[in-house]
Symmetry: D2
Subunit: 294 residues, 4 copies
């Protein structure tokens, strides 16, 4: 039986050593730290994990390392953000063999894709594996914008697309998706600054990089929502919101890796052309993180 | 002392007779109906009320008629959507003399306005009257998009701008405004499909045309939120959402006037170039309204 | 017989006196100056002329003043930018009675217009007058974006819509319009920085506020194009381009009125909420104008 | 000495065999055909060549095959569209060793890049090779939009970035670039429907996939421009425009491969998720190609 994804789904960065290789020891440490703090699932190789920037070998190493690190303590969903269907399939198969509980698939475009092309992309990947697929909509990074109508159709027609992660930042789409699927398809919030609203709207979980730096507040927010304590949930959200706003504005790998260093954890730098956070941004981030301790 | 605006702020359409004049008897009837059903405030001459399409004489007549109809049973806020500062001031003064509790001011652009121009526009109107001003941000209709930062600055620098109505459909802006004003400036949701989320986020009220056609569900939603019953609020919201989506997609005057006719209320047609709802749209609206009765 | 519109169609600002009234003497003077310098047509009350900001009385006064000032030396086309069909008709009829050669009609939106609403708006105005109508597409100011397909359809179905002014800044639309109309509908460039390209593409004329400040270079550009001297045309365009870029970036009434003052002509200020050009902008404009003298 | 790029720079598709491998014989044939028809340069592995969709091995094979096929009859510029700086450098070095005359570099984003990141990306690649670099701006496919100001700065600060290809479809940017570089940096039009305007504006060449299907008309257009025969250039452009509009609307690999098949040339299909042109599109393309023969 498939493990359920619910609650705080934490996205580790992919740490690099000084020479740019994947730092598997640090990746394991980051995952341990997040699981120890109580997150409900681990999602390596998402946008945060610079999935799209890795070679096949690197991606495979990070996948195996992550799955071993998680060791079934919580469910694992691995991110795939490839331009071609063939490469997406190859990575999905690898992940399945390696033992993931699900794969999260983002269609990435160079040439724009029409609806049939997106649908068939998912269908081809789904045919190639038997693990569940989380459809991931994030037009700002991928260049592909799937309407709620298209997403609902894919969920209907491709049997192992069973979850949806929405990162457009448009809350109305989540309500629309609920309408179109009669609430039968669990959806996950991928837009950090909408976490409170999305969980209220019925999101099954919140996909977030925040637990790299602070897992306590996202977990407290989620717990308050589940208890129906909207006031506490809102207050908790307002506390963590400056962190969410900052990491989204700057970009997740850049800001999270800078923040980790402020917490004495060296996960290296994001991969070029992405550059480390500059002096001004670092000062802001330091203030944001300090405010969370009060 | 100023009346408080809170809860469901209802926006009547401006009814026209067959020859295109304002139907004051029907305007009074619409307002009575909404107050009888329990709405918390009346906002004539908003976007719904085709404020921008009226001559000065018509606008003044509608203002006076509305204020007389409300008769202080609930607070009244009158909408001003003028291109020039001079015309905005003239209408604001008229409204104040006529006895409104507040004016809602939307800056409208032909030539784009910079921040100083928007700020000084509000300052000039505020200098000319002593009633409170509700700042209204609705770039889709007005062509002016005020950032949360600019809105917070206007609230800080112009003393009788004391309320903010946000209609961008971007929930993050409401959270940002709360941050920037430390929650001291009440804000109102003007984006119907975000009503549930905005009220959860702390909105003091919901500005909506829905009560022209159905006041019961918005009132029930608001009551559930106030009681902290998030589940009931969400269920109520999901019931009324198809109506909200429809009237926003089609346009408020067009859809609401068509819906009123389906309820045997003749409020006339929207003013040209706006056209009455066509056959296909009418069929959809009929189905949406029928579903609310179940 | 209708006068032909061709070449440099000059858009005077509407000058205001210190107390905000229309300065008819100055309007006459500006028009004389432009005709004396050789422009091929005069277009009062365009975007440059703050048409949308004037009361009916003011608009009528400016129309009558302009027509008298032109005195049939060149053709006159008067701009109408009204929200309602009724008001557009009223102004078109006034202009016809006052003796214009054509009216330029911009549909302005508050509520979005569908294609049928735009088409019927033009048809109703066209029914009400017998002067030719120049359809004007300028979504950035009006909120209405007419596709080449819709424009071609209006030209086909509404007999006295005989000219098209395109101001989207998208050159492909001009080529598309030519295709769709088989080159039978003269089109006019309304995007100043595209003047050279649009004239090369076959535009019958260039609608521009530049002659308020410099008529010589636009006229020289047009003459070079007509003689087939592309090299000279391009060189001339490149000389005047910084002026065109500046006035478009800042906004036409604001920048042109500031420039006129630098040329010792007091046309007053733009109407509030539009503000006079600030110190930094004035310095830039002074440099731009000085460079034209070299 | 560097070969000059000027005129019609033709972009071959990358042909695939039935099993999805690169069809090197057909690639050679396509290049021969275009050179025989008179094009001035060959640009393999551009957007048309599905560069971003190829594995390193495939990309290297296509590069070597193309360079051998061209055999220095005309200059060759090879396209690089990679997400990471490291991968861009690796491909640039390979191309240099293989004997290209220039490389065309498109920065591709997943996470947004700031100006420093884009500049340093170009600087790092430029440091690694000594062939000239054509900067390529195509935000619609790459997600990176470089302003004319940034482009001018890169040309200034990175010595072997010596050419610019602009594909935004915004003609004003080309004029702006000319201003900012005093006309010292040759620029190339990458937006097919702007070819006539861009060449008039001073573009050194036109980068186009059209010669896969028809080289005669682009060459005639270019020749007419160079002779100063604007009328003939415009007429020629108008003849070929429907083809340009079609291939841009549908996407270059999809439409060109379908068109080649109509010309009895089997270059295979675009790589999945891109799908072959459907029945309706094929019918349109057939009509467009037939009209070119008249």
């Amino acid at each position: 039986m498939t493990k359920q994804f619910e609650g705080i789904i934490a996205y580790p960065v992919t740490p690099f050593t000084a020479n740019g290789a994947i730092d598997t020891a640090m990746l394991k440490q980051l995952i341990d730290r997040m699981i120890d703090s109580g997150v409900h699932a681990i999602a390596p190789l998402g946008s945060t994990g610079e999935s799209a920037y890795l070679t096949d070998d690197e991606w495979e190493l990070a996948t195996e390392t992550s799955i071993a690190a998680v060791a079934h303590r919580v469910p694992t969903v691995v991110g795939i953000s490839e331009l071609t269907t063939a490469s997406s399939i190859r990575r999905a198969r690898f992940a399945e063999r390696a033992g993931v509980d699900a794969v999260m698939v983002l269609p990435v475009s160079y040439w724009k894709l029409n609806d049939a092309e997106v649908l068939d992309h998912y269908a081809a990947i789904a045919d190639a594996v038997s693990v569940p697929i989380m459809l991931y909509n994030n037009p700002a990074t991928s260049g592909v914008d799937m309407s709620p109508e298209l997403i609902a159709r894919i969920c209907r027609e491709v049997s192992n697309v069973t979850m949806v992660k929405e990162s457009t930042g448009d809350l109305q789409r989540m309500h629309r998706l609920l309408q179109l699927t009669d609430g039968t398809v669990p959806f996950y919030n991928g837009s950090n600054p909408l976490a409170f609203a999305a969980l209220n709207a019925g999101a099954a979980g919140w996909c977030t990089a925040a637990p790299n730096l602070n897992a306590e507040l996202p977990l407290a927010l989620y717990a308050a929502i589940r208890r129906g304590d909207t006031e506490l949930a809102r207050a908790t959200f307002e506390r963590v919101l400056p962190l969410l706003q900052f990491i989204v504005k700057v970009g997740l790998p850049t800001s999270v890796k800078a923040g980790l260093r402020m917490q004495q954890i060296d996960a290296g730098e994001p991969r070029l052309p992405l550059q480390p956070l500059g002096a001004q941004g670092s000062e802001q981030l330091r203030a944001v993180l300090a405010a969370l301790q009060n």
